[in-house]
Assembly symmetry: D3
Homo-oligomer: 250 residues x 6
């Protein structure tokens, strides 16, 4: 099976980190294709970045459908374009916030999300509500690290995240940690070891969930809310993004 990991931002170095995390998580029979879109922001730190990034995400899902991808992971904690992507995909599409929260709810009574900038807490809050996780989410904590600072050498980012996780365990009643940014994809194992609780990172979690859905023979429901978009005309620079007839490619 072929799973496409879409890093909604256009920072290739981060796409590589994400791709490596996805490959490390994938089963032996799974092919991981990790891409950045052809267009969009270099990092996603708010609603505007997120809305803009959806164009590239959808473009990659469209290409993936043509290329025979079986499933998709949207590797940004705001899950940009998730429901729209489901409409144009035959197979499953998972967001990493969605994947991480569902997984965390299976191994702990409650979790805290540890994220980057405080300004993204509102996005996390919306997703907690949307995914039915109000009773599980004990806190949403910001480290005030910018997305592109996460992999700077020297480890200060790692230590800041670890300290915030420790506060979550001590003050929020958290029993697990959800990492709130795809840029943290390579930190989960080490953090989990040091903290002694499950640390859930969404890229790996989403890869396993997509593999699971595919193994179960489950794709996105094409009845109702997530049915293929109706064919229609798109104008201007979006002309090429118009949905076609589903049997002829999205």
């Amino acid at each position: 099976m072929k799973i496409k990991i879409i890093n909604p931002n256009t920072t290739q170095r981060m796409t590589e980190t994400i791709g490596a995390a996805a490959r490390a998580a994938a089963a032996s029979g799974t092919t991981i294709v990790a891409v950045s879109p052809l267009m969009g922001p270099v990092s996603i730190e708010g609603h505007y970045d997120e809305a803009m990034s959806a164009l590239g995400v959808l473009d990659e899902v469209r290409r993936g459908e043509a290329d025979g991808c079986d499933g998709y992971v949207i590797a940004c904690f705001g899950d940009p374009g998730l429901l729209a992507s489901r409409e144009i995909a035959r197979g499953p599409v998972l967001g990493i916030a969605e994947a991480a929260m569902h997984v965390a709810s299976l191994v702990a009574g409650g979790f805290t999300i540890v994220t980057t900038l405080a300004r993204t807490q509102g996005i996390a809050r919306h997703l907690v509500a949307q995914y039915g996780m109000r009773d599980r989410c004990r806190g949403i904590r910001a480290t005030e690290l910018a997305v592109l600072d996460l992999d700077r050498p020297g480890g200060a980012a790692y230590r800041a995240i670890r300290e915030e996780c420790r506060r979550a365990l001590a003050e929020d009643g958290a029993e697990a940690i959800v990492l709130g940014c795809a840029g943290m994809a390579d930190l989960a194992t080490r953090l989990g070891g040091e903290l002694g609780v499950p640390v859930v990172e969404g890229v790996a979690a989403a890869v396993k969930l997509v593999e699971s859905l595919l193994a179960l023979g489950l794709g996105t429901s094409k009845v109702g809310e997530l049915a293929h978009p109706l064919p229609k005309v798109y104008r201007g620079m979006l002309e090429g993004f118009a949905p076609g007839r589903p049997d002829r490619g999205a």
Copy 2:
């Protein structure tokens, strides 16, 4: 004050209907600018259309900020790009679903949303939850009219909508109707008269709310979730959409 009404789809005839409804609702001192974006779908009937339309909506808000617009209305019942638009606007931005539901909650114990295609009910359901209207929304009913059929001559669309409204009053316990598509903007008054209950149409409702917020001196909070986007690079065909420094225009 100058309020820009953005019809997120690119069907000019519908923009004209919406603009007329907005002008009819506006106070005498208000200038209404009604536009379709330069790019995007001719109608919005699902998550994919909606996500794609956000690009054009945001483009129009950016232009509006440069042009001295004081506030904005996003005239599609899915409120595409609403939170992202708030980030780049100094003044208020309202979605018509948001406006219509808040207004309906002020004049009735409960309302039913009467919308177009059943496939859009999921979108309405998400918005009901997001706006805190679960206790107020008694039903979401589809007429199975396509958006662009709404203004076809002959009145069949009007009659279908009216019959669905009557079922809502009889079967859902609705005490008011929320019209679930900007394409119904010119039907509210006649429907209200025939049904004998408040019929709330979002374009007019949003215009009045934006005027109200402006009169109150209230713009979008720039602290926290809705702060101006961080300046950064955007790549590819979105290069020109990158957020700049707020004091230099979005």
Copy 3:
């Protein structure tokens, strides 16, 4: 249009402050009539005061219907008698807590209510739930100022409120402030300027919402929960408050 602002308490000085705030907010074509009821408590600081004040509020709405008032604002943050008033009014009736919370939800991700005595926090909590604002309300903070202390000269009340607002922004994650008492009606602009976030004051907010509803041609639904009271006999000192036939005045 004529809007009647009912200060549910009988302290005339406060009615004047409220009336001034209402007039400052009103459109040029709006006539504001600000009254205290003929009967009731000099301030409202709990459920008992509030229940008692409803009599005077309803009396004023009844008189307003006879006098040709088009809409009403109930200017106490507990919104006393709101749903009952809607039953006897043809036009819209808004409470200031309701108005302020809805307005705040349109310009910020979340808000904190800053109110007077801690004993009134329970009332605010009920209203937050009733208006669907649980996801938006980040805190309800008491200043322990009594209602009638708000306008004492010297500015200590202002400073206490401002400090509580600052704590709300720093500790609650609030992105806007809702002022929790009609007696604070004249503080919003100055507070907003000093705090740098939207500060929503309910009297002005409610005036704009009533004007908006009237401009939209929307009155209270007379179907279902808010239909005109059934004509019946009232006994004792309430004899004169019995609802009559709606077409003959309430």
Copy 4:
């Protein structure tokens, strides 16, 4: 112990029915005092009636405190004046809707409320939310019987109620019935026998709960929301209702 049953309406015949139901439920050591207020509507069928009736309810609680009553039951399904009454009572105060819903939740997975006029369904809906019963309430059904028709001879009212209960069991998944009007106080036993499920009537339920609280030594908390009203001046025809110092009577 002495428990005062306050029928918020002023129809003495109904007070007698209610008093009889209360006495039938009361323990041998309990003295039941059943009263109608000196003022107020002859029946309560909406928010206006309810708000108006609170004056009489509170007057009776005040008198009861002076007369050494230990607890109170407010015998109207809208629970008018409940929280206000708690402020001025030392002992417990129960509303019959509150009592009936809590009791029903203890003996069945879910219940349907069977009430009088459809216009009162909104009131029941608010109480269901306020009392945390959303997961338990399977339906709110109106019989379109007026309150004062309930005890008309001939049994048509009884049969109409019984048929509505049967529909609730068959269609709503109800496992118990909550009777939604104090005027149904004498029907519960017979209905329960014929329907074969618990039929909960609030007057009897509230009497037992008040007795229970008294036996447990529990009165209303005087800390926070339900503390005694602050002493202050009331004006006009409400002058005599001003709260005094609690140690000198309400």
Copy 5:
């Protein structure tokens, strides 16, 4: 009437404390039978203990049905086996967490639960949600006392609980205290006196509620969710626990 109090743990000394509390609360005509099961844990401090204790609880309810018991109290704050017990009982069955929370909601705006070990907070959290008490529960506080330490001489446990209660009143906005362990059954009166707010202890509360339901003629609904178990074969060491035909004993 005969009410069986089942202490789900097998520590007889604690059963005696519980039995004494139940007898002190019971009406003069009530016979209290307080038992520990024949099997199970000596204390209950987590989900495993709780699930295991359900066997003994159900065994005691089965015996109680054969012995003519009219109602039951499950005297552990996790309410183990509550819904299962209701299936096999004709009369009412109450858990002490359920009883205490419902009772506290009748006398205060909000309460905090003060319990034993922090590891049991998750159990309390589930029950708060299940009983519709999310709006009422202001906190769940652990004292880190083990269940069997509660009655150790010297009073350290009492003082620790009292201090935690004081913090709840000062920091949570609690207006009443719910004691979160049956082992605290003898502390409520003294605590209530010292704290000046209602302190609700579940054993006494449940006894009064069961008496109330019995006086009202209400047993567990045998329609739907709580109907008598279907007769069937049980295997192995549970063979003797198989449900029989209800008319022949459970």
Copy 6:
């Protein structure tokens, strides 16, 4: 990896069906051990059956820990003993209701649960609430098939289930089906093909989720609610079930 599938009932034929479904879903490197407990009901159709079955479930998890099992699936739609099992397992434990609902939420906007007897709908309702699925669950439908009738030859059960699924799609707005009984484990593929929507069966879903969690290196959090039970004495026939020190086996 070795995953133990525990059929909480003691009907071996059903265990074989479940084991076959689990094996069909498992990855090539996964060893599936499917067992019935040594004790317990032959089918689970209510709270009593479920509470009783927890003993056997927990016994099997204890044995599994000693035998080196890596994870567990509890194969009954009531998820009996789930949280207790998590306390004694190092690795992940999934219930099939939990697994099926989470999986369905990833591929459809909303689902309906199609189950066996109407008396089990209450159990499903509790789980929907517990797992945060209120916004996703569109209905819970009973076929009135007994658990042990599901695999009777002749296909009547299959047809009844399929018809109920069709009604769910037509009447509830369901976009996917969740099968509400482990006895339906072999029907999902055929149903999915005939209905044209995702049909989620919990046994296979849970196997994939447990495999996923194991691959992610995630076990149950041992901090807080799900920590290993405290070592203590159990009495009577449960003596051998007492939790020991975790490092010496459960």
